[in-house]
């Protein structure tokens, strides 16, 4: 066996692959071969490192050098300099956005400093298409331990004691859910993995499946043993092709090794897993809708009870957990409930993966202990607001969540605190907004999504959300009235109280939280027809400040509708009747001569 003294870990997540990391991998491999280093340097495609904005990423082991924005043609230099001579390629190192210093290794990067990786433990570390690497890192040991040394009841108790709550958003205690499924009688029980990730901007589950598919397979098998199921199903979006490919490989390898199928590890326990594809409807993340979709019916939710644990897939007892929840299970079994519950807050244990996005310096996937504050996440891990602008709000929980503000920055993040603040954990999208974002437009954006994704089964959601959207649209056009503001609040409350499923019950959250926290903005739109942030096109106009204009013609040259007139070295003028308010003039002007009124 070759003895490698250096490993080059190339990110093979969807984000980095979109920037040609697969070509980079091929080039590195070719260079290593050409230089005769194939027995010394191992080039590996891994899952996501999390720091997606900086991709493609290459991590050099053992010195932990972290190269960012690497292009396929950089392979020659990396091999010649780093692999042969041990010199870092400085131009590819990460530069701190605030201090502007180069940081050579991941250990010293603010982005990684406060993270604890449990669900993402193997992402960016192992080759997800090679079961050997998973096995080398305690893979399937938790399954072995459960099958050989624990009764189903003991294993369930371990999960209950760990305090793990469902990472899909609702936060129901996982172990309790397992116990209910265990206690119900049924001739055939099912284990379902919910990999239908639909929040705008969220990609936690996809990254786990792409980077560490075996951890989910292992956890599902453990779950099967615990509740007495022999069949597992993964409901995954068809638009996650890379995750599907890697899951298929992982299932095949696990079967070959006798870790799935008949008589697993000689224990006499049988369990196998199949994939089911979803067409990508947000509502199918709701467990009853998901089950109907798997049965070939329309993806519509039904009233609970009966809960899936009582009557789920094909009317049989079914346990549904999402990807991130499962990814925690092997670690809980291996390290124990006590270890797991030592991380986090009193009622929310362990860590949570967030997809950090928006107007923030470090965009990417992070895993942090419960109880960390929003301030730490946004300003330390996220590196603060882009362009030195002012923080305005952070949307947590996707379309089901709310917008939190400055006053919430020091609140420890956990299920209960987020709910108390008017938002929720959701599946873990976290979108940061700055002073340039209009909160009415933000609420409208999420409502637009909800209206699109509502299954239409119940009228509060189907009709109510549409009406909410129309009122918001009216307000952003400067046609709203004070009565509309009251209507928004009342209608939101009715939708929350009367919708059939979680989608409808939470869809007004963005409206309610922005009404609570940014009422003055709504008021300005209605009473003064003003949009503070300058985002609502009907309420703003672009003007040129004559004193600042030097007549450079940059604005006129870049205007897509040619509505700016003016000679060189003379003050320019915007024809308001033609202007489409795209903002290109303001963006191109180097003299601050364009303003929004």
């Amino acid at each position: 066996m070759a003895k490698f003294k250096m490993h080059m870990l190339v990110c093979g997540g969807t984000g980095c692959r979109a920037s040609s990391s697969d070509m980079l991998y091929k080039n590195l491999k070719k260079e290593v071969q050409e230089k005769g280093l194939e027995n010394e340097v191992q080039v590996v495609t891994t899952g996501c490192f999390g720091f997606c904005e900086q991709g493609p990423i290459v991590k050099m082991i053992p010195d932990n050098t972290f190269y960012v924005g690497v292009k396929p043609e950089d392979a020659i230099e990396i091999v010649a300099e780093h692999a042969i001579k041990g010199r870092k390629v400085n131009r590819l190192l990460y530069k701190d956005p605030v201090k502007k210093e180069q940081i050579p290794d991941s250990k010293h990067m603010g982005f990684y400093k406060k993270q604890i990786r449990i669900a993402l433990r193997n992402c960016g570390l192992i080759d997800p298409e090679n079961i050997s690497e998973y096995l080398a890192l305690d893979g399937y040991e938790a399954l072995g331990k459960v099958l050989m040394e624990m009764t189903p009841e003991e294993a369930i108790q371990e999960v209950i004691d760990s305090g793990l709550r469902g990472r899909g958003g609702g936060g129901f205690p996982t172990g309790v859910k397992w116990k209910i499924a265990h206690d119900v009688k049924g001739e055939q029980k099912y284990v379902v993995c919910n990999a239908d990730e639909g929040d705008p901007g969220a990609f936690m589950d996809r990254s786990i499946l792409e980077g560490d598919p075996h951890s989910v397979l292992e956890a599902m098998t453990i779950n099967g043993y615990c509740i007495g199921a022999t069949k597992g199903l993964i409901y995954i979006r068809a638009e996650y092709p890379l995750a599907i490919k890697r899951l298929k490989i992982a299932i095949e390898q696990a079967r070959e090794y006798g870790l799935l199928g008949e008589d697993i590890m000689g224990s006499g326990f049988n369990f196998d897993i199949e994939l089911r594809y979803g067409a990508g409807a947000f509502v199918c993340g709701e467990e009853t809708a998901l089950i109907h979709s798997m049965e070939g019916e329309r993806g519509e939710p039904t009233f609970k009870p009966p809960f899936p644990a009582q009557s789920g897939y094909l009317g049989m007892p079914t346990n549904v957990n999402n990807v991130e929840t499962y990814a925690n299970i092997p670690v809980i079994i291996n390290k124990g409930a006590k270890w797991f519950s030592s991380i986090g807050t009193e009622k929310s244990k362990g860590t949570k993966v967030f997809a950090l996005a928006g107007k923030i310096n470090n965009v990417g996937l992070i895993e942090v202990p419960m109880g960390i504050t929003l301030r730490e996440v946004i300003f330390e891990i996220g590196g603060g607001i882009k362009g030195g602008k002012k923080f305005k709000a952070v949307q947590t929980g996707g379309p089901s969540g709310g917008c939190l503000t400055e006053k919430h920055l020091d609140t420890p993040i956990d299920y209960d605190n987020l709910l108390a603040s008017g938002s929720m954990m959701g599946s873990g999208g976290m979108i940061v907004m700055d002073e340039d974002d209009c909160m009415v437009s933000v609420a409208k954006f999420y409502l637009d999504f909800t209206v699109e994704e509502s299954c239409g089964k119940c009228s509060p959601c189907r009709i109510g959300n549409k009406r909410l959207y129309e009122i918001l649209d009216k307000i952003t056009k400067g046609q709203g009235t004070m009565e509309d503001l009251d209507k928004l609040r009342n209608l939101s409350q009715v939708i929350k109280d009367t919708s059939l499923c979680g989608l409808g019950q939470t869809s007004p959250n963005p409206v309610l939280s922005t009404l609570d926290n940014f009422y003055d903005e709504y008021l300005a739109h209605v009473t003064e027809q003003k949009c503070f942030a300058g985002q609502c096109k009907d309420l703003i106009r672009y003007e040129i400040i004559p004193e600042n204009c030097v007549g450079c013609t940059a604005c006129a040259r870049n205007c897509p509708v040619n509505c700016i007139a003016g000679e060189r070295k003379q003050v320019h003028l915007i024809d308001q009747s033609l202007c489409i308010k795209c903002g290109a003039c303001m963006e191109k002007c180097k003299f601050n001569a364009v303003t929004i009124i």
Partner: protein
């Protein structure tokens, strides 16, 4: 492919596979381990740094010493190549010059195992920026 038929089978397989990935795990937490850096600039390579590095990797593993061996660029002591910098846990780095296999063996046996200094230590005249 042989199937895994018991927990013991799985553990045995893990033990066999661990060395493949140990380097990645160790690198994630270099503190508390012996860190050895071999200068691998042109002059270092010409003087035999590669062989010294391979020797160090093999021997440290054979002698069960938890160490991370990495290569680095020119340390600036071209006259004394190959040069090797050793950092014991919670101690300042020490640089050894003119390291051949025999001296590398001495470094492991004396400095790394017992902390005893050897002849030919080069005073560190640079500061590392972490």
């Amino acid at each position: 492919m042989t199937k895994i038929k018991s927990l013991a089978d799985l553990k045995k397989m893990k033990a066999d596979l661990q060395s493949q990935i140990a380097l990645r795990e160790k690198s994630d937490n270099p503190e508390g381990r012996v860190q050895v850096r071999v200068a691998m600039a042109t002059c270092g390579i010409a003087s035999g740094a590669k062989e010294v590095m391979e020797f160090l990797i093999d021997e440290l593993e054979k002698r069960n010493i938890d160490a991370i061996v990495s290569q680095t660029g020119c340390m600036g002591y071209c006259y004394a190549e190959p040069t090797v910098e050793v950092t014991l846990p919670n101690q300042d780095p020490v640089v050894f010059g003119y390291v051949d296999k025999k001296k590398a063996d001495d470094i492991i046996e004396k400095y790394i195992k017992t902390g005893e200094l050897l002849e030919g230590i080069i005073p560190v005249n640079y500061e590392k920026i972490d």
